[in-house]
């Protein structure tokens, strides 16, 4: 039994401590917005926030999360920055298949939270851990810039 603080709520899950946060979220808590893409922190589809920092949840075991605060795609829209990013995404139709976009949004929110006016190299640095197979990078970059303008 491990207790996790997810999106402001306490969840006790009957999973072993070595379970990656990704699978605890998906299979135990039922939050399937966080995606499995590679399992080795190469694609970023599983990105969540732990104490506000973007983290690959496939590499963080629940035994190591402790009392830290976890935010997932399901709740990021409740924050002003999350809502702003999601609106910027929708405004220019960033998504295609959409499978990577939970992770893209989480990485973009983390970027703008720390760097309100990112330049291209800031965007490259913050977003290059998130693969998009459909190739929506051009629009992701634009959406981040658009969202930054509204900060």
């Amino acid at each position: 039994m491990v207790t996790l603080l997810i999106n402001g709520q306490s969840h006790t899950v009957d999973a072993s401590e070595d379970t990656p946060l990704l699978w605890a979220l998906r299979d135990f808590v039922g939050l399937t917005g966080t995606k499995f893409g590679c399992g080795i922190a190469q694609c970023g589809a599983c990105t969540v926030h732990v104490d506000g920092k973007a983290v690959r949840s496939c590499q963080l075991t629940i035994g190591n999360v402790g009392a830290k605060s976890i935010t997932t795609i399901e709740a990021i829209g409740d924050t002003p920055m999350g809502a702003r990013i999601q609106k910027a995404w929708a405004d220019i139709d960033v998504v295609q298949c959409g499978y990577c976009q939970s992770g893209q949004v989480m990485s973009a929110v983390a970027l703008l939270s720390h760097t309100p006016n990112p330049d291209d190299s800031d965007i490259d640095a913050a977003m290059s851990g998130n693969i998009c197979r459909c190739g929506t990078y051009v629009r992701i970059r634009q959406a981040i810039k658009n969202a930054a303008k509204t900060v």
Partner: protein
């Protein structure tokens, strides 16, 4: 069960019931199948949320909300949105009232008007459904107008529609909403002959609209097969034989914990558990010995040796104009070969399927590009009638051709046969990449000759590679020709007087082949456009000018080349080690010219800075969606050009995850500048042609930047590194 899933399963039930009523009538002509009155009002045993379903595609609720059942799979290409535009414009409803849901797997009603089967591939959706779905929408509209005319006892010709209402101008502009009319319209016979809108009256078709799935895919609520959750559902991790045709030799399962179930099949081992991580841990704790079988000693070198040898033989003729051999003998001749590797699809959503096998039946959930094919695959695997298979198709986390195959359905069904509950079978990324149906490796043997005036006089293009059609059908080729492998090579857009294209089959050992985004043209266009560049250089001509000189017979492509070159600043000076390259293509019914601008560093690393494309895809449904497909396709193709290669050692695929099967990342992604050329010609496809435009334009740009001609993909950085002697 989420709200979305409830809606989805209601829709499936509704249409299944409708199909039972409609089935007998649907056997006739193709267009009839679109107009079959589903008449659930007579057949329904209990009320449903839908009050109008005149032809299996459209339902209108009392509050005016409109639901379309979309026959094509949504895998990112925006087809739910674009096909909804076709229906909504002709039906005359506001787009913000529209919801799109997957149509159930019924070929007789939802099969492509071209192929008579449900299937999403080959950039066919808009080309196949552009007029048929407009007619469906217009038919639905006519039924609503007739229902209003009946109620008001007026001639339907005096009525008009606007945004979900029928309006009677001759009686003070009185109105009835579609929601009010729907129950009455549902009882009418759908008209079979309807007039579609004039171009000037179109409000949605040809105008940019937002994707219907833009919100749910940005906030994590979109449901993929991977996200299915069912009461009592278990999870399975699997390992299939790492060598094609191999078998399980021996398993040591002594470390398997008690809450896990071992499923051992001939060529698959799976562990079933209460959650995926437990199952995967259990699988990894097994010690599995495989008997690799006859392919266990095959390496890439042997596959390429076979392919190269076969490619030198004469192939089956796919097209011939003039006399290619004579033409080649007359002029300055160039003989070259271009080689492309095996590629994995690597969609972001790894393969998965959830299956519940019950006595004599099965229900399944997952994402497929071939809905009825998935049903047939499960039925065959389980040896039950297709009617006993219920399939819920989901939005796909990428397709790219991977989900045109049904091996993931068959594997899941075989495992589910041994499990007493619904089971979600999830492939790891390693399983997804090593157990793919790969884009064939190809060798293009080409010859061309130049006349003294710089015109191409002779052209021979022989394509050698394995046949996906043969692998899928199990039947040999007729007369040795696989038309699926020569697409893009036959059109002779450059008007060469003596022209021949051949195909020769060369099946690779140890590799299963499948359709990959861009299909044959991702090979043929690369070869053609590489050769065009080499010919231009040999003729001493500018690559753009050389193509333009050969495009008088293909004016739409000529216009694309002129536009792209002008927008890209073709001919303007660039820094050292920077270059521009062009690709002109006609494929999937669409004309595109693309200029890539690249930079090559001293280590031979290539940075693609920008693509400038001009596209003429005929009539366009969603212009912004089309641009998105071209942007994404160019990047998809560039990934292949820069990184894509699957290799085999000891019968096993050597690449396994994104660390060794690289995908372009944000820091490497090129900018794009796309110009849409307006046209009223028949609509062309757009899902794939961007993908085919990337590699040749990049390689031609590399040649311009460095003087080095690359004839194989992925790019060889050693050849591009600047040597200091």
């Amino acid at each position: 069960m989420s709200k979305y899933q409830k809606i989805q399963s209601n829709a499936s039930t509704l249409s299944r019931r409708g199909f039972l009523k409609a089935g007998s009538a649907a056997g006739g002509g193709l267009l009839l199948s679109f107009y079959v009155p589903v008449a659930f009002a007579q057949g329904a045993q209990k009320p449903t949320p839908y009050v109008l379903n005149p032809n299996a595609f459209i339902a209108i609720a009392p509050d005016g909300k409109v639901t379309f059942q979309i026959p094509q799979a949504e895998m990112g290409q925006g087809v739910y949105t674009s096909l909804s535009q076709l229906l909504a414009d002709e039906l005359d409803v506001s787009f913000d009232q529209v919801t799109a849901l997957p149509a159930p797997p019924i070929d007789a009603i939802y099969g492509s008007p071209r192929g008579h089967r449900m299937g999403t591939g080959g950039s066919q959706s808009i080309r196949s459904f552009y007029y048929p779905l407009r007619q469906v929408g217009a038919s639905g509209r006519a039924m609503l107008v007739q229902a209003a005319a009946n109620q008001w006892k007026v001639d339907s010709a005096t009525l008009r529609t606007e945004s979900g209402q029928v309006i009677d101008d001759t009686h003070g502009g009185r109105k009835l909403s579609y929601g009010e009319l729907a129950p009455h319209a549902a009882k009418l016979t759908a008209p079979q002959k309807v007039k579609i809108k004039d171009d000037k009256d179109l409000k949605l078709i040809g105008h940019p609209v937002h994707r219907l799935d833009a919100i749910e895919k940005g906030n994590g609520t979109a449901q993929y097969g991977m996200d299915v959750r069912l009461p009592g559902m278990k999870f399975a991790a699997l390992a299939a034989s790492p060598v094609v045709g191999g078998k399980v030799a021996k398993i040591d399962a002594s470390k398997l914990s008690g809450n896990l179930q071992l499923v051992q099949l001939d060529d698959i081992v799976a562990v079933v558990g209460p959650d995926f991580w437990s199952a995967l841990k259990g699988l990894r704790a097994l010690n599995i010995n495989w008997n690799g079988g006859p392919y266990a000693h095959i390496d890439s070198a042997q596959i390429w040796k076979d392919l190269r040898a076969t490619s030198e033989k004469k192939g089956a003729e796919a097209v011939a104009m003039g006399d290619a051999d004579k033409g080649l003998a007359d002029g300055t001749r160039l003989d070259v070969a271009y080689e492309l590797p095996f590629l994995s699809h690597a969609p972001m959503e790894p393969q998965n399927f959830t299956v519940h096998v019950t006595p004599g039946a099965c229900e399944m959930w997952g994402g497929s590009q071939v809905q009825t094919g998935a049903v047939a695959a499960a039925a065959k695997t389980l040896n039950i009638p297709q009617e006993k298979v219920t399939f819920h198709n989901y939005t796909l986390g990428g397709g790219f051709g991977r989900r045109l195959d049904t091996d993931m359905v068959e594997k899941a069904a075989r495992i589910a046969q041994k499990v007493d509950s619904p089971v979600k079978v999830i492939w790891t990324r390693e399983e997804d990449i090593t157990q793919d149906m790969y884009r064939p490796a190809y060798r293009n043997v080409m010859s061309a000759s130049l006349s003294p005036d710089g015109k191409i006089n002779g052209w021979m293009h022989r394509i050698a590679g394995g046949s996906i059609q043969v692998r899928m059908s199990g039947k040999p080729l007729k007369d040795g020709l696989d038309r699926g492998n020569v697409d893009g090579a036959l059109d002779n857009v450059y008007g060469v007087p003596n022209f021949r294209v051949e195909y020769i089959q060369s099946e690779p050992r140890a590799i299963n082949l499948g359709y990959w985004r861009g299909v044959a043209p991702n090979n043929t266009i690369f070869a053609i456009e590489s050769l065009m560049d080499e010919l231009a250089i040999k003729a001493g001509k500018d690559p753009v000018a050389f193509r333009l000189a050969h495009l008088d017979a293909t004016p739409r492509l000529k216009a694309c080349v002129q536009t792209a070159a002008q927008k890209a600043g073709w001919g303007s000076p660039l820094a050292a080690r920077r270059g521009r390259g062009i690709c002109a293509q006609f494929a999937f019914g669409t004309y595109i010219a693309t200029v890539a601008e690249v930079e090559v560093d001293d280590d031979g690393e290539v940075r693609v800075h920008k693509f400038t494309s001009a596209i003429d895809a005929g009539r366009v449904v969603n212009p912004d969606g089309m641009i998105a497909q071209l942007q994404g396709g160019l990047i998809f193709g560039t990934t292949a050009a820069l990184f894509g290669e699957i290799t085999v050692k000891d019968g096993r695929v050597e690449q396994s995850n994104f660390n060794n099967y690289r995908i372009i990342r944000m820091s490497e992604a090129p900018a794009t500048d796309i110009t849409v050329i307006k046209s009223t010609e028949a609509p062309g496809g757009i899902g794939e042609p961007g993908c085919t435009a990337g590699p040749p334009s990049v390689v031609n740009a590399i040649a311009a930047a460095t003087g080095v001609r690359l004839r194989t993909l992925p790019i060889n950085r050693d050849l591009l590194a600047r040597r200091t002697a």
